[in-house]
């Protein structure tokens, strides 16, 4: 009976192809939006979290929100670094500086990071030419700088600039090194940096409330096994200094960062999925509309079928199956269109990847397909029910008389 109903539904759907297609269009667009958006977000999430997780599993990042009037000094970091679990430690002071070209007309904002030589090793940056920052640069407050590859190109048009000066906020820094372009997605944000000795950066800071203390630093543990010990050591050291205030400082490890990024993207996926689901809902209303028209048009048919012995339930099933089949065909088409769109996006992104070194593959997630199919089924049932009930409740004589 169900197979026969499906055959009848297919017959009704194919007998007016244009109308059926237009009816399905709402569902097709809804499913496509749902599948494509959620697939894009989940693929992006996976790429970013993989990257974060792979980016030094042994790395910790510390930020200090409130130094309680006891600012952290380089010496304090050195003290922390004495523990056997800790490998490298590097303070970080980020600010924005204005760079003026020699002619004094063209200027641009750059990110100025005060740090030490360990920073580059922790971040995994490599030198293209020159040298990294040295301890002596910090000890002597030397006005030297290491440039990201991109900024070297954009400011000087070349990476062969060792010994030249870069002027930030009117202060000259001799260029001692240029980095290679970093690989990976997260590195995108670190392509326009100029690195100077931490001590020099600290001097530039006029903000009294910070008391010239270290507000951010990175460290690496000696191997992944030592991460939890290193985290413990840092937390205890900071707790001893700043007291038992959970808001005073935060220690992040990469897993936590990956997790929090994942959370953010999940919210995105839900939000976008929700919007797409609304369009699917609208598609469902379109189906109901056409089913109502169809029921009226086929009043005579319903009368004939009832005269021939069709029970109300048979008519009900027939029209619900028809709505369901419409929805599911639309859903299948939507999934096919989504696959096409994702293939195109992959083509474009791999073309772009050759240039940017960042590579992301977008794949359809099984979960979202399942959700799309289930949602389409529910919509077919819900929006098919009312027209089907209307058809089933028709009185055979009234239906037969209808011309």
């Amino acid at each position: 009976m169900i197979i026969k109903s499906i055959k009848m539904a297919l017959k009704a759907i194919t007998s007016s192809k244009m109308r059926s297609f237009l009816t399905m269009l709402g569902v097709i667009i809804g499913v496509t939006a749902l599948v494509v958006l959620v697939s894009l977000v989940t693929s992006a999430t996976k790429a970013v979290t993989d990257e974060v997780a792979s980016m030094g599993k042994d790395m910790l990042s510390v930020s200090i929100a409130d130094n309680k009037g006891k600012p952290l000094k380089i010496e304090d970091l050195k003290e922390i670094a004495k523990d056997r679990s800790i490998d490298l430690i590097s303070p970080k002071l980020t600010s924005v500086a204005e760079h003026k070209m020699r002619n004094g007309i063209k200027s641009s904002d750059v990110t100025r990071i005060g740090t030490n030589g360990s920073h580059f090793i922790i971040e995994g940056y490599t030198l293209a030419s020159g040298r990294l920052l040295k301890h002596a640069d910090l000890d002597n407050n030397s006005y030297v700088s290491v440039l990201s590859n991109d900024i070297a190109i954009s400011l000087f048009g070349s990476t062969d600039i060792i010994g030249r000066d870069v002027v930030l906020d009117g202060v000259k820094y001799q260029v001692v090194g240029v980095l290679n372009t970093p690989k990976g997605l997260m590195a995108e944000t670190n392509r326009n940096n100029i690195y100077i000795p931490f001590t020099v950066a600290q001097r530039l800071q006029t903000d009294a409330s910070t008391g010239n203390g270290i507000r951010e630093f990175l460290l690496t543990a000696k191997g992944a096994d030592n991460v939890s010990r290193a985290e413990q050591v840092v937390k205890e050291a900071l707790k001893a200094r700043f007291g038992d205030d959970p808001e005073a400082f935060h220690v992040y490890n990469q897993n936590e960062m990956a997790k929090s990024i994942d959370e953010i993207y999940k919210v995105f996926a839900l939000l976008l999925g929700g919007i797409a689901a609304i369009s699917l809902l609208v598609g469902g209303i379109g189906i109901m509309n056409i089913m109502l028209v169809s029921v009226t048009e086929r009043t005579k048919e319903i009368g004939i079928r009832k005269a021939l012995g069709a029970k109300s339930s048979s008519i009900l099933v027939q029209f619900i199956v028809e709505a369901l089949v419409l929805c599911l065909i639309g859903c299948a088409m939507g999934i096919a269109v989504s696959a096409g769109i994702l293939a195109i996006v992959n083509g474009v992104s791999s073309g772009a990847a050759a240039a940017s070194a960042a590579k992301m593959t977008f794949s359809m997630s099984g979960t979202v397909i399942l959700v799309a199919v289930l949602f389409s089924t529910v919509i077919g049932l819900v929006f098919g029910l009312y027209p089907a009930r209307k058809a089933a409740k028709m009185h055979p004589i009234d239906a037969l008389r209808f011309e």
């Binding site: 009976m1 026969k4 017959k11 009704a12 007998s15 005579k300 048919e301 004939i304 079928r305 009832k306 005269a307 021939l308 012995g309 069709a310 029970k311 109300s312 339930s313 048979s314 055979p396 004589i397 037969l400």
Partner: protein, 225 residues
């Protein structure tokens, strides 16, 4: 098999009460070929709808095969229509989207007959009305006479005891009409009870028993039995 006891069908149109059927008593025995004749508006269609279990009388009792149909639910009435009654309409009422074969198959589907059995029964019914060669056609692509033959095949495919025909020749030319009437004679000889409703005296004349319906009241005109 058909017993109408004091059947009335009353419609209230505004303040007016209209008796479409006015206290009709009627008995039709198995194997009869009854013609019911009457002008339009005489209640013919109402009579057929009640007899065919498509509608319920306002007053009185209708016994079909010794059982009052008052006791049945809508779904049970659908099953009775399916098993016991074959309908033939003036405008054929075939479903245009389906082939002749599929049209004839419909009542069997609603009866829950298996596919293999459906095929043989459909083939038999089509052969009986001489329509086997048109089974793959759609109703729109064959003549009116052929459509009516197909409709008759659909009516007899469930082997119902009673065939109810409402102006079966009304949309056909007289020659085709005669052929269809000949088919009814054959079906009657084969054992089907036939009730034929018409306004055409010459068509009704081919029945063995003729009833006259006028203003909702019925009268015996002729009985050859």
């Amino acid at each position: 098999m058909i017993v109408f006891k004091d059947i009335s069908k009353i419609y209230n149109i505004g303040d007016e009460t209209v008796y479409a059927l006015d206290h009709v008593d009627l008995t039709i025995k198995e194997g009869e070929f009854v013609g019911i004749i009457g002008p339009s508006g005489s209640g013919k269609s109402t009579l057929m709808h009640i007899m065919g279990c498509l509608d319920i009388a306002t007053e009185g009792e209708y016994d079909l095969d010794g059982q009052s149909i008052d006791v049945y639910t809508d779904n049970e009435l659908a099953a009775i229509r399916n098993k016991k009654i074959g309908f033939i309409f003036q405008s054929f009422n075939l479903l245009n989207k389906l082939t002749i074969e599929e049209n004839v198959e419909l009542p069997l589907i609603y009866q829950g007959v298996h596919a293999a059995k459906r095929r043989t029964r459909v083939a038999e019914a089509l052969a009986q009305v001489g329509m086997s060669h048109r089974r793959k056609h759609t109703p729109n692509s064959i003549s009116g006479g052929q459509q009516q033959r197909a409709a008759i095949a659909r009516a007899i495919v469930t082997r119902p005891a009673l065939i109810l025909a409402d102006e079966p020749t009304g949309n056909l030319d007289s020659k085709t009409g005669e052929e269809i009437m000949a088919l009814f004679q054959e079906l009657n000889i084969a054992g089907h009870t036939i009730v034929l409703i018409t306004h055409d005296a010459s068509v009704a004349a081919q029945a063995k028993r003729i009833l006259m319906l006028k203003d909702g009241k019925i009268a015996e005109v002729r009985d050859d039995n």
